[in-house]
């Protein structure tokens, strides 16, 4: 072996070590790590492969978009990443925790403590007022009566809705409903926010207001935000965009 060959091997070895340390660092900085996600739906003899070997990393404090045409598997992937749906194969690590290794009740508790959800259809409780909708989420996290009311009011204030606290969802506009939903998602200070088409039901003005709120969550409050969307307006605030088509994750853009 020549000296040059030895040098090359040594440099290859150091490069390997460097790669390992980068990988470890990435795991630490990644809030979401998904590996080999497969989702197969079986209906009688027919099998439908909704997600095909998906790998995805989302850094802490980033806004990650998941885009793609209808039926591409975006919502299925979001459900899996949130621990709501169990994949046929693969693993998901959220904040360093392998969520599908947790028992059902521990996984529910993990979601409760760490994930805030924003839904396309708002999913507010119609019988409850805006403040009560937020209070429910706080109550679930063990925050009781007076403290919950105080915090709920503070959260509504953050989304500019403290004046509408006692209104029922049917008395609010679409944008206001989504802001209540965001306030609810922020209850208990979760580190991950998962949003499904958060601007789909909103007009331009309200859409921009919600986008601005999501940007603030990530950039000023350090939350990791995963958004499934068709809305090109959100791309401007995203750190990374992944495209899903026919269950396959295409190369995304990272800014």
């Amino acid at each position: 072996m020549t000296a040059t060959q030895i040098d090359l091997l040594q440099s290859a070895g150091s490069a390997s070590q460097a790669n390992l340390s980068i990988s470890a660092e990435r795991t630490e900085v990644n809030a979401i790590v998904a590996r080999g996600i497969e989702m197969i739906y079986q209906s009688g003899a027919e099998r439908f492969r909704a997600l095909k070997n998906i790998d995805l990393d989302v850094k802490r404090g980033d806004i990650q978009l998941l885009m793609g045409p209808s039926g591409s598997g975006k919502t299925t992937l979001l459900s899996i990443l949130a621990g709501i749906l169990t994949p046929t194969a693969g693993s998901v690590s959220l904040l360093g925790e392998e969520i599908f290794k947790l028992s059902g009740s521990k996984l529910a508790h993990f979601r409760l403590q760490n994930i805030g959800f924003i839904f396309q259809g708002f999913n507010l409780f119609p019988a409850l007022t805006a403040i009560e909708n937020v209070e429910v989420a706080l109550n679930l996290k063990g925050i009781r009566k007076g403290a919950a009311r105080q915090q709920a009011l503070g959260l509504l204030d953050q989304v500019g809705l403290s004046q509408q606290a006692k209104r029922h969802p049917q008395d609010l506009s679409g944008g206001q409903k989504q802001r209540v939903a965001i306030a609810r998602a922020l209850a208990g200070n979760p580190r991950l926010i998962m949003a499904d088409e958060p601007t789909a039901a909103l007009d331009s003005h309200n859409g921009h207001a919600v986008i601005e709120l999501l940007r603030n969550l990530a950039k000023e409050k350090g939350r990791t935000v995963l958004i499934v969307t068709h809305d090109p307006r959100i791309i401007d605030v995203a750190d990374s965009v992944a495209y899903l088509e026919d269950g396959v994750l295409k190369a995304g853009a990272h800014r």
Partner: protein, 416 residues
């Protein structure tokens, strides 16, 4: 936590009212069926329960209060002589037919007793006086039976058999649901009514040792015969048939021992305590006739129908809110949190269905008792039992509805 259950319930008031109406109907159905069953059971032995006799001496063939073979009135005298007996009285029960002036014919059951004593007649007289029954051809009837006899008020007159019967008093809470109309009068009047339209004779034969054996003979008088002139009913003789001897024991007497002494002193009789004869009568009606079975079946059907109605209401309510339950699940709420919402909703529905339905049933019971003499018996125990049943019904239905939530696809929350 803000009560999602309560808020969901009152979110849509017209819908809530419709749902509660279903529960009120179901609870009322169960309460009325159970009330009628209990009222019926109680009413069959009402007169026994209200009497103050410690012991009832009856024929050995007695089946229930109104179905027994006659015993001779001399048994009263014999019973009175048994040590430990404070008082013995005759009770005569006979069947006949009431004819109103308008021609209405009604089967009646005549109870003949001593109106000066309360050994038999422990019940309340709401109008007139019990002692008025001592007057010839005078009777008391239950207030609720007046209309069924074709009469409207006190003082009116009808006929029992061929003899006149003037209503001189109204009793209260005395009529059995399953029997003919009860008529209360003195022993003398009862005996007269029992034998009205009959020719009676006594035939005696002297036995070899010199004893006399006498037999009462009753034959129907010819319908086209000339009516006998109306005479004051005669006093009972020792050979007249009666139905029971009612006995009041002296203070401190052991009733079981007194029973044995009476049975020994009065051949061919059986002696019952008040509780025994009441039980035997109730058991006959509830077990040996179809009435008890039908009413029990009605109560069971009421319960099942109630379960189905409440189940449908709760299931439909859970289905309407399934997305909200899915949202709670997605947010990380434990299953128990979701079940508790459904259970709380069920408890509210139970409570808010129970209160108006019980008020309705109590009102209905008061009306049927007054107007029809039909008792819907709702005791505190019945009311408590029905409440427990309502809770079981609602919670059972809630558990059924919970299945819907446990099967809910959490991914439903992401569907617009």
């Amino acid at each position: 936590m803000a009560s999602i259950a309560r808020k969901n319930l009152f979110e849509d008031i017209p819908r809530f009212i419709v749902a509660q109406a279903g529960i009120v109907f179901a609870v009322s159905l169960v309460t009325i069926q159970v009330g009628i069953l209990k009222g019926f059971t109680r009413s069959t032995a009402l007169l026994i329960d209200q009497s103050s006799a410690d012991l009832w001496v009856a024929s050995k063939e007695m089946v229930h209060l109104e179905l027994t073979s006659p015993i001779a009135a001399e048994k009263v005298v014999q019973a009175q002589k048994v040590p430990g007996v404070e008082r013995a009285e005759a009770l005569m029960i006979r069947s006949s037919v009431w004819r109103s002036d308008s021609g209405l014919i009604t089967p009646v059951r005549i109870f003949g007793f001593d109106p000066d004593s309360r050994l038999f007649a422990g019940w309340a007289v709401s109008q007139g006086k019990l002692s008025a029954a001592k007057q010839p051809f005078s009777v008391l009837v239950d207030r609720s039976s007046l209309k069924n006899l074709g009469q409207t008020q006190l003082g009116e007159q009808g006929k029992i058999g061929t003899l006149p019967a003037r209503i001189v008093g109204l009793s209260q809470d005395t009529q059995s649901i399953v029997s003919s109309i009860f008529i209360f009068t003195s022993l003398e009047n009862a005996n007269a009514y029992a034998t009205a339209g009959l020719n009676t004779s006594v035939s005696c034969t002297r036995q070899t040792k010199g004893d006399l054996t006498c037999t009462n003979n009753f034959e129907n008088a010819p319908l086209d015969g000339v009516a006998a002139p109306l005479t004051t009913p005669r006093s009972l003789s020792i050979s007249d048939p009666i139905s029971y001897v009612l006995v009041r024991a002296k203070a401190g007497q052991d009733l079981q021992q007194l029973k044995q002494r009476l049975e020994a002193a009065l051949p061919n009789t059986r002696v019952y305590t008040q509780a025994e004869i009441a039980d035997q009568t109730r058991v006959y009606w509830s077990d040996r006739t179809g009435v008890g079975f039908i009413l029990s079946l009605g109560a069971t059907v009421g319960f099942v129908v109630g379960m189905v109605i409440v189940g449908q209401i709760l299931y439909s309510s859970v289905t309407d809110h399934v997305r909200e339950f899915g949202t709670l699940k997605a947010m990380g709420a434990s299953n128990w949190v979701i079940y508790s919402v459904i259970l709380e909703q069920a408890m509210w529905m139970a409570l808010l269905g129970y209160i108006p339905s019980m008020a309705f049933c109590l009102g209905l019971g008061a009306w049927t008792q007054t107007a029809k003499g039909i008792m819907i018996l709702i005791t505190p125990a019945t009311a408590g039992g029905v409440f427990m049943l309502t809770v079981v019904m609602c919670v059972g239905s809630a558990l059924f509805a919970v299945q819907k939530v446990t099967r809910v696809d959490p991914a439903i929350v992401f569907k617009a």
